[in-house]
């Protein structure tokens, strides 16, 4: 499972961070950064929520 961030779309709302602060963090540059290279499969549900709730459709999930 891999998360993709479309940086043309991300504007740093941080809804993803508010759902999973161990996986996502909006930095001082106003963009989200992925904090973990590999994604534990048991976090799939919350990652799917982060993808669905992104206001700018900037997140997608592979695998």
């Amino acid at each position: 499972m891999r998360i993709n961030v479309d940086y043309d779309r991300c504007t740093g709302h941080g809804i993803c961070e508010s759902l999973a602060a161990d996986l996502f963090e909006v930095g001082g540059d106003g963009m989200v950064h992925l904090l973990s290279a590999g994604l534990p499969e048991d976090r799939r549900a919350v990652v799917e929520s982060a993808v669905a709730e992104c206001p700018t459709q900037a997140l997608s999930l592979d695998g």
Partner: protein, 417 residues
């Protein structure tokens, strides 16, 4: 519940309605789902309409919430677009529309809200609210035609439209009847601080003066705005942003309990059997804040839609919908973000930046608890307070966390010099 095969019907094909259909499918709902929408368009995202849609250099396009193939194939939705629901029979479980009746086993009401208008202005040309993509096209065309623009209402949408019109080269004045814009959303002091964005970026702002009437020429085109103090502002375009009202007119007489919108329980169920609701028209008890709330935020519509869809798909496993409210506004290339609630705050404290600048963070206290956080250009910080709010954090904890953030930001800035 007796399922007849009619399946789930969702009335309202915007964000909340679409998310309701998605939520039901994700929860394993297999029966037919019909999505009824009054506009002829595929579900699209509304926030860009007052921002990028108005300022885009090239021809503006709608931001679709999902591609049509996803709606029809992956979600297996029956789309009834350009169809307006006109009445509801909760005993027979029928939605009456302007093009026939639609039976349901389960129903989600997500018809949103409609802009309030200025009395007596329906027939004037050059006067618009902004809710739909058709409204946005009309406003953009008027701005491009060189219109002198008056925005009535200094709320978030009016302010965004003013900022966009200004960016596109229009001469803009914002008129607000209240002495303090945005007081209900962010409190009086911060309402003034945010309203100051207009003047810092060259937009005139008149507060504490109401609109007496709109003036028009012989062919019914608006020419100016007459204010209550007798003054007049020339205008070729008047955009009215004085709030919205829940679109519940079609539910009158249905027996569904209405009040401030639709009165729902904690699971977003209405007072009628097998009927749930989501979005701008929902009033529900939010356990996270301890308040019965009706909010017109994008995030609430999205989250409630998903929750109502899940609960409708599996009512026996229904769970309460709770959230820390979040909204944002983009004006003059600055982002305003708010988490929590501002109502009944005992104190607000600026913890980063200054209120007279374009970058600050303010915390809201009630009793010994943190209840809200407001950031202007604080994208890396605001959401960290959503965690604290969800955990019902104490004020002292929030303040020490804020001081750590401020110190870290200062150290980083010093290192960069």
């Amino acid at each position: 519940m007796t399922d007849t095969g009619s399946g789930l019907v969702v009335v309202g094909a915007s964000l909340a309605g679409l998310r309701a259909a998605e939520g039901a499918r994700r929860a394993g709902y297999q029966a037919p789902i019909t999505l009824i929408g009054a506009e002829p368009h595929l579900p699209y995202d509304r926030p860009p309409l007052s921002k990028d849609f108005l300022t885009a250099a090239g021809p503006p396009t709608a931001t679709l919430l999902r591609e049509e193939a996803v709606l029809r194939d992956e979600l297996a939705l029956t789309l009834r677009l350009g169809t307006t629901a006109t009445a509801l029979d909760v005993a027979a479980q029928i939605v009456v529309t302007d093009s026939g009746e639609v039976s349901y086993d389960r129903l989600i009401v997500a018809t949103g809200a409609a802009p309030r208008t200025l009395p007596g202005t329906d027939r004037l040309s050059g006067v618009h609210a902004l809710r739909t993509i058709d409204d946005a096209h009309a406003i953009r065309a008027a701005i491009d035609g060189g219109a002198r623009t008056v925005v009535v209402g200094a709320g978030f949408i009016g302010s965004e439209i003013a900022a966009s019109a200004k960016k596109r080269g229009s001469e803009v004045t914002v008129v607000e009847a209240l002495a303090t814009p945005l007081a209900r959303a962010v409190g009086e002091e911060l309402g003034l601080a945010l309203a100051a964005l207009h003047e810092r970026h060259g937009t005139r702002l008149r507060v504490g003066v109401g609109v007496e009437r709109l003036e028009a020429n012989g062919v019914g085109a608006v020419t100016g705005v007459r204010l209550a103090d007798g003054s007049r502002i020339d205008a070729d375009l008047v955009v009215v942003g004085i709030g919205v009202a829940p679109a519940t007119g079609w539910l009158a007489g249905s027996g569904i309990e209405l009040g401030n919108g639709i009165e729902c329980d904690e699971n977003l169920a209405t007072s009628a059997p097998n009927v749930w609701a989501a979005g701008d028209l929902v009033s529900w008890p939010n356990a996270t804040t301890g308040l019965r709330m009706r909010l017109e935020h994008w995030t609430i519509a999205a989250e409630q839609g998903g929750a109502a869809g899940r609960n409708a798909a599996d009512p026996d496993a229904a769970t309460p919908f709770t959230t820390v409210p979040y909204f944002w506004s983009d004006q003059y290339d600055k982002r305003i973000q708010f988490v929590g609630v501002a109502e009944a705050a005992d104190e607000t404290t600026t913890v980063i930046g200054d209120l007279d600048s374009d970058s600050f963070l303010v915390l809201y206290r009630r009793g010994d608890r943190l209840i809200g956080a407001l950031g202007l250009e604080q994208r890396g910080t605001v959401m960290k307070f959503r965690h604290l709010l969800a955990a019902n954090a104490g004020w002292d904890e929030a303040m020490s966390f804020a001081k750590e953030r401020a110190a870290a930001a200062a150290a980083k800035a010093a290192a960069a010099r």
